[in-house]
Symmetry: C3
């Protein structure tokens, strides 16, 4: 694992988290997990706790619902790998907070360009189903797609995971 | 076609069934089609009947909504190819029957590991759209994803079919 | 860019339009954009106007909601590249107009087989989410999938775009 940005795309329950984690654990240094998700309900709290237990003691975890670019800038170093999970939840958090998403996307890309060490980002692909009925879901889908495109353009490596198996896109 | 397990993933109307069938028909031996779907309504009954007619006379068909691992164990042989369609409907049947899905996934993987002849399994990828509104659909999506990951890990070969064209994942 | 048909598949906001456009602009000749979309509401009108402005002055645009095969037959030439966007909206238009979709698919394939110059077609993959609740959405998903399969079979080249990155399927 050399320095650089690696985007890992996949669907729900595609095995993308496990793939990201196993890539990260090959890194010889500190491991920082940045969780963008917040536990709004029991379903989510249960999932977050299970994931944290799965990661084990090598990992430090920070919960960063909004200020992701600053968190990457502050924590990235040649001796620390940062794993961000996930960009889709971050997009959703930004929308709920009524932020200008394209500005935040630019800040993230800047932070990735200047990162001193390796960064792995996990993101959902959500645009391959039927057009959603409600306008908010369509706006979210658009924002999530712009996010993925911008980070993919900035990344050194992009993978698509299906059924636990990675496919190299870049 | 040598012995071994081949998982064929794809979306709705992706051509995955036709691809699976044409791979199967290259096998020089008996052909068994295990249909996990049951005809609950007219739409489904019409689709099942059309698929059965499409397959033609080389095929024997068994309808197995639940006991899939036992059916594979009982019918697999070096002189008979088994085509299972599809794992996603099987997952749905298991949920409706209130079974413990992870136990059934383990039984299926065991049956595949011990199969005496080639097995082709067709499954839907359902996790690449917007998060479903209702909790049952989310639980189903999770279960279908775990099923695909487990079978992909056990399989010798995994393909993803889009617009009738296969992409090799493993 | 030589003559021939190139199908570009992808999800919503996958970057498929931009990819198609940049491939097209490498062509040394006239550029015709056939838009199948009609502006039924403000959201759609805004998107169409933005896309047209993005394309710039090299392009001529025709809006063809239904008679796509005839439009390709009439306009394709060795000195003109035709970009069709998109087949999924065309499928939707055909359903609303109560046309026999398989007949229109055949006419399109015939027009592509006889095209005198290069044709690039953009289409959505919509079958990778949870089964839609309503029967009309399921019928649409089936029709869109049959369209993609038929055009992919006729095309010289098929790409799948995710996060702006193309993956070659054919």
């Amino acid at each position: 694992m050399t320095a650089g940005t690696h985007l890992i795309l996949g669907g729900a329950r595609s095995g993308k988290s496990r793939h990201a984690q196993s890539l990260a654990e090959a890194f010889d240094g500190a491991l920082l997990y940045i969780a963008t998700g917040e536990a709004f309900d029991a379903e989510m709290a249960e999932r977050i706790a299970r994931h944290r237990a799965d990661r084990g003691p090598r990992w430090t975890t920070h919960e960063i619902p909004l200020a992701l670019p600053a968190a990457i800038a502050a924590s990235s170093s040649a001796r620390r790998l940062v794993l961000v999970e996930c960009l889709t939840l971050w997009t959703s958090n930004l929308m709920h907070a009524d932020r200008d998403i394209d500005t935040d996307i630019s800040s993230l890309v800047d932070a990735l360009d200047r990162a001193a060490g390796p960064v792995i980002l996990v993101s959902n692909e959500v645009g391959l189903g039927i057009v959603p009925d409600n306008a908010l879901a369509r706006r979210f889908r658009d924002a999530a797609g712009r996010m993925n495109q911008a980070v993919a353009a900035a990344a050194q490596r992009v993978s698509f995971v299906a059924a636990g198996l990675p496919l190299r896109l870049k």
